[in-house]
């Protein structure tokens, strides 16, 4: 029974840790499927986290915080689009610029506005997204196994966790079942064909990066006003890059990408739990090993040693009409 409870609690934190990864992976999916490399997930999430915490601290409203996070992340996405789509700049360089800008600006503005060494005031009570009790969770909690899973694992998360898991089918439907999605995938594979069909490549790609900004904003808000209670410098701590790894690991498809996020989230949840624990056969597992594992797995996958991850064909190539 003890192991069972431990498993439930490990899976519970897996969901919490995977949430920002899933949101960022869906963000990256829209952008990269349209042919725009997005290593700026990290920066957009960080900027969103700062905007959410700062706005909520000043206004007291989580909703305004959430809107601010999405607004700021979308404007950074538009900057990325302006550089890569309009001016055909290097997409990796632009993404990197966004990451560094976000890391710098969030601290500079935080220090200037709140005078707490880069942190925002800590939030409490209804200034955060609190846990939601799903209907009947209380009543079913005595039912063995299924009831417990429902009450302890599925219920009791904050709103943004549920939004993240809804974002996956939503992304799937948008990308695979709508006209926009068909064109989005086409523009990432063969922009010339899309252009020939009389559809604007630039406008499609702008819409894709806006979607990416929106999801990154949600991920940022989750970090600072749902999971955390305020902004701390560099609080995204590489999660944007892990999400990028998960996106590649899932071969740029929504459901596999989500599974990769859950796997990486589970590894992280496990890493803290296994600290100092002696396991049969293997002995102690080092935290650093677990931390490095997502990156190692992604490198191995990309190298084609387990399956093959093939990127959208036109990814990273700026489109110009006169090139063909």
């Amino acid at each position: 029974m003890d192991i069972w409870l431990q498993l439930i609690s490990a899976l519970d934190s897996t969901l919490r840790l995977a949430t920002p990864l899933i949101l960022c992976a869906m963000a990256g999916l829209f952008s990269e499927r349209s042919g725009i490399v997005d290593i700026g997930l990290e920066g957009k999430m960080l900027a969103g986290a700062f905007a959410a915490a700062a706005t909520t601290a000043v206004t007291g409203s989580v909703w305004l915080g959430l809107i601010a996070a999405m607004g700021v992340a979308i404007s950074m996405a538009l900057l990325h689009g302006f550089a890569c789509i309009t001016h055909r700049g290097d997409q990796v360089v632009s993404g990197l610029a966004i990451n560094i800008l976000a890391a710098g600006l969030s601290v500079v503005l935080g220090i200037a506005w709140f005078k707490r060494g880069g942190q925002t005031p800590s939030l409490s009570g209804d200034q955060r997204f609190g846990p939601l009790e799903l209907p009947l969770a209380e009543a079913l909690s005595d039912v063995p196994i299924l009831g417990q899973i429902y009450a302890d694992l599925v219920s009791g998360h904050n709103l943004l966790v549920y939004i993240a898991f809804l974002a996956v089918p939503l992304t799937y439907l948008m990308v695979y079942k709508t006209r926009f999605g068909l064109r989005l995938r086409a523009v990432g594979e063969n922009p010339q064909a899309v252009d020939t069909a009389g559809i604007s490549v630039a406008w499609l790609r702008y819409r894709a990066v806006i979607m990416a900004g929106l999801f990154c904003g949600l991920a940022g808000a989750y970090l600072s006003i749902a999971l955390g209670a305020g902004f701390v410098r560099d609080m995204s701590a590489g999660k944007g890059y892990i999400a990028l790894a998960a996106l590649i690991f899932g071969k740029w498809r929504p459901v596999p990408a989500m599974l990769a996020c859950l796997l990486f989230g589970f590894l992280e949840a496990l890493a803290t739990r296994l600290q100092g624990v002696d396991l049969p056969l293997v002995g102690q597992i080092e935290v650093q090993f677990m931390q490095a594992l997502p990156y190692v797995l992604t490198v191995v996958l990309l190298a084609g040693f387990i399956g093959r991850a093939v990127a959208p064909k036109a990814i990273g190539v700026p489109y110009s009409k006169d090139r063909a």
């Binding site: 890569c84 001016h87 632009s94 710098g104 590649i248 490095a292």
Partner: protein, 370 residues
């Protein structure tokens, strides 16, 4: 890229980069103004902090040394059309090589005998950490950008593990190795000056700045005066043309990445063998990323890189002074400037091109009319 023929060479080589850098600094000025401080006052503090007294100059040049190494590393890869974001990890692993060699041999020989061995070790370790992504790009088709990002994180985890569990000096809490024996670490500049009777304030500046200048010259020689350099530039410009002229692009991708990594590994000469005198956690401290801004600003040319490194060295040192003068600005402003430089000199590099071309065309027309 649009056809460059319309612009005179000087505009392409000097004017556009200058405009882009100016735009980046103007944007930084807007940020300062937004905070409610006077940007010109901030500039004055920066310049005074970086060059106003000998300690400031020492620190400025000490930071400059790191940025020259990482800037050169990024530039060599850029010439081959590769984007090496992994300078951070390569420098970190280079530190492992330099540190191991120094800790093993420091009781056997003085620093000037140890230096060439340490340089070789740092270069080999850094090169190895870049070789794998290079190899995977050339022969397994994974993209070097993604792999080098992943390798930064793997390097960081590996070094934390080694410092906490293996290399730590017994009986201490901080995850650091023991100090390199006196006489085996690189002499600091103030010690050298003291020997000839000149007194300057103690700073971490050490002999490795000369290693950096030598490396800049050698990179210039490599890129513009050797077969390898020619092949590297060739695959960067036009891979199929390179194949027709008998160059093996796969091999050159690996070679370019290894050279790039070996240059990044040299940061450890400045930090591990020089300034710190031991391996400490996170001694690279973002130099790998600053190298990207430096290479973009210096247009991938060693002279440009030295100048851009000096500018960023001054920003880092002067930036440290900002917090003393203003209650609202800290050195983090330099990170913003770095991001803006990468944005304007890198991602938006072509933005000013079309308007300038129009301007020059109008000039030419009006001159014809006269």
């Amino acid at each position: 890229m649009s056809k460059g023929a319309k612009l005179p060479v000087w505009a392409d080589v000097a004017l556009i980069p200058l405009i882009n850098v100016t735009l980046a600094f103007l944007a930084a000025g807007v940020v300062v103004a937004l905070i409610g401080e006077n940007p010109l006052d901030a500039v004055e503090v920066l310049v005074r902090g970086a060059f106003g007294y000998d300690e400031g100059v020492g620190y400025t040049l000490y930071y400059t040394t790191n940025f020259i190494f990482t800037g050169l590393a990024v530039a060599v890869a850029f010439h081959a059309g590769l984007f090496n974001i992994g300078g951070e990890g390569q420098a970190y692993i280079g530190g492992l090589g330099v540190g191991l060699v120094c800790l093993a041999l420091d009781h056997l020989m003085p620093w000037w005998m140890l230096l060439p061995i340490a340089i070789a070790a740092g270069m080999i370790f850094g090169a190895a950490w870049a070789f794998i992504p290079g190899y995977l790009q050339a022969y397994r088709g994974s993209h070097v950008v993604i792999t080098t990002i992943m390798f930064n994180f793997i390097a960081s985890a590996l070094m934390v593990y080694l410092l906490v569990n293996v290399l730590i000096k017994p009986g201490q809490m901080a995850p650091e190795t023991r100090d390199i024996a006196e006489g085996a670490s690189l002499p600091l500049m103030h010690e050298l000056f003291a020997q000839v009777g000149i007194k300057i304030t103690q700073t971490p500046l050490n002999l490795s700045i000369f290693v950096a200048l030598l490396a800049s010259f050698l990179v210039w020689l490599l890129i513009w005066r050797t077969r390898w350099g020619y092949a590297i530039r060739m695959i960067g410009h036009n891979e199929s043309a390179a194949v027709y002229s008998g160059i093996n692009p796969k091999k050159m991708v690996v070679v370019a990445m290894a050279i790039s990594g070996s240059l990044a590994g040299l940061v450890a000469i400045n930090e591990v063998m020089g300034a710190q005198g031991r391996i400490v956690l996170d001694f690279v401290a973002g130099s790998g990323f600053t190298g990207i801004a430096v290479a973009l600003m210096g247009r991938n040319h060693p002279v440009g890189i030295i100048l851009a490194s000096l500018l960023f060295g001054a920003l880092f040192q002067g930036g440290a002074e900002l917090a003393f003068e203003f209650s609202t600005i800290t050195r983090d402003l330099v990170v913003v400037i770095q991001g803006l430089v990468i944005l304007f000199c890198g991602a938006l590099a072509y933005m000013m091109r079309t308007p300038l071309e129009r301007l020059f065309a109008r000039f030419a027309k009006s001159r014809e009319a006269n």
